[in-house]
Symmetry: C2
Subunit: 319 residues, 2 copies
């Protein structure tokens, strides 16, 4: 028999294991354990606690969700987020929006259930659109929905990916569309535009938003800004040269998540991104193409929450 087998510490750990077994495996109460081990109830409690703190008991969750929760916690910690949700990816279609849309919708729904008035501000994009489509109809006249950016395409038509109106209609809440185009022609025009009272009011609402949901756009040739015609090839190249990797509500940022000081951003009419830590700004984004954009947004603290897919979360944690 090994030396030290019966030292006090070993005995104590043995008892902890015994108590842990009786508690977690056999389902005894701590009272029963105390009786069986011949100690006080408090000591039994301490033994069970020790079994946990000494990592003698290992819990495993046999469910795909478990892995997602692990990833979510890791992402949250790595990037200092206040909230993070990871949704299982279908290996055959890892970039499908349905999953994260459902998750985002339930997060949104959770906030909407509140009786207090909440200001919900939205960006644009396919993720947002899909999210709102997952939301059940509810009656929430106490809340306010506000758009963080204009929805006018360059040809003057409304963007099909603006979800504000649809959300407001679904939940029966008043809504504030963003009364400006996406881009001004120059910064002077922008100054003029922003001096309007309606604009100032809308921006103020955005700043006070109790929940902001935004998409994240990548900055390659598949970029929403480019595909939707806001940025032409030449400007796209210019932005790429300036280090742009992503955009949130049209604000273009670099790989460190810093909003780039450039001609384009000086024309962006969208509401400024909230910087206060306690204003939840949640990004809804997934997919290989958006990965650098998502990582940069997290690094730069442009958002403090993320809803993404399992595959994307894994890539965010790689290296």
């Amino acid at each position: 028999m090994t030396t030290g087998r019966f030292t006090p510490e070993a005995t104590r750990l043995d008892d902890a294991a015994r108590a842990g077994w009786l508690y977690y495996v056999a389902g005894n109460t701590q009272d029963e354990i105390a009786r069986k081990l011949g100690v006080s109830r408090q000591s039994a409690q301490r033994l069970v606690a020790m079994a946990v703190s000494e990592k003698l008991v290992k819990v495993r969750l046999d469910h795909p969700i478990a892995r997602c929760m692990d990833l979510a916690l890791s992402v949250q910690q790595k990037y200092g987020l206040t909230q993070c949700e990871v949704v299982p990816s279908d290996p055959e279609a890892p970039d499908l929006l349905t999953g994260i849309a459902i998750a985002a919708a339930s997060e949104l729904e959770r906030v909407l259930k509140s009786d207090e008035r909440k200001i919900i501000s939205l960006g644009t994009g396919r993720s947002l659109k899909a999210t709102v489509e997952q939301l059940p109809r509810m009656s929430c006249p106490q809340h306010i929905v506000v758009s963080r950016l204009g929805n006018m395409m360059s040809d003057g038509s409304a963007s099909p990916f603006n979800a504000t109106i649809q959300l407001a209609e679904r939940i029966g809440a008043p809504h504030y569309p963003y009364p400006l185009p996406v881009l001004a022609h120059d910064s002077d025009e922008l100054t003029t535009m922003k001096s309007q009272e309606a604009v100032r009011n809308t921006i103020a609402l955005c700043e006070r938003a109790d929940l902001s949901l935004v998409g994240i756009g990548q900055m390659d040739m598949t970029a929403p800004l480019h595909v939707d015609g806001f940025v032409d090839n030449a400007e796209m190249q210019e932005l790429a040269d300036a280090g742009a990797v992503g955009e949130i509500t049209s604000w273009v940022y670099d790989a460190q998540g810093r909003i780039i000081d450039c001609a384009f951003n000086r024309r962006v009419a969208s509401a400024p991104l909230p910087r206060a830590e306690d204003r939840p700004v949640v990004a809804i984004a997934s997919g290989e193409a958006k990965l650098p954009a998502i990582r940069a947004a997290l690094l730069g603290g442009l958002v403090n929450g993320l809803i993404t897919s399992e595959a994307t979360a894994e890539r965010l944690l790689a290296r």
Copy 2:
């Protein structure tokens, strides 16, 4: 994405998994889970319970003791015991007595801690001796220690393996040695002996014992009865022919744990083994050599408790 991925049942299980993860992995309270998932505390409780009942959570104990507790439960169930304790074996010395002696001593100690008067009856043997040696000195004048059998060797000297005196001395309790030799010359002499008041009194104490600790003896050429000179080669052979596989306090029994009706047993002067189920009769025994004797004793219900080693418990469960 798989069909049925978002059916109510799947969503519910997902939530259960989520709740289970938050509870067991992240250490949240059910209240916090309720808040995070946006449900009532009761629902959160139901989700956690579901995660358990649906076997989503698996607990594992990383400690040698855990395996012992599993074995103990299995042995207890297989043989219908009221108590069973299994002690880790050292693979290099699986039959060492120290481990089970410590376990037996703490079981004994647990009983001795009681303020009510307890009658402790003891058999003989190396296991018992070792057990008492592991017992710390205590002051228990309220209890009574009584021997279940004589300790006289055939040459008239006292057996060195009688633990009664030592136990009584260690715990400061009155003790009753067994006032007869191990064997009478014949059943007539036994009848005479047992008619003595002191003997009847001692046997009555044994019958009322609140805890009986006994050893188990094998019946081959290494048998304690033989080694200690109570049974010679010829009689040993005779008993083996009658099917004897083991003995407890000198009562010899067969493979089914039935006390054999034979000349030898008719000379045994020891107190009868208690049959009442509620009298704890705990065997302290381990080792490959004793295995058939232990198994038979358990099968026949000669004891209702067992303290043994991991290796022995495994063998008891084999097949």
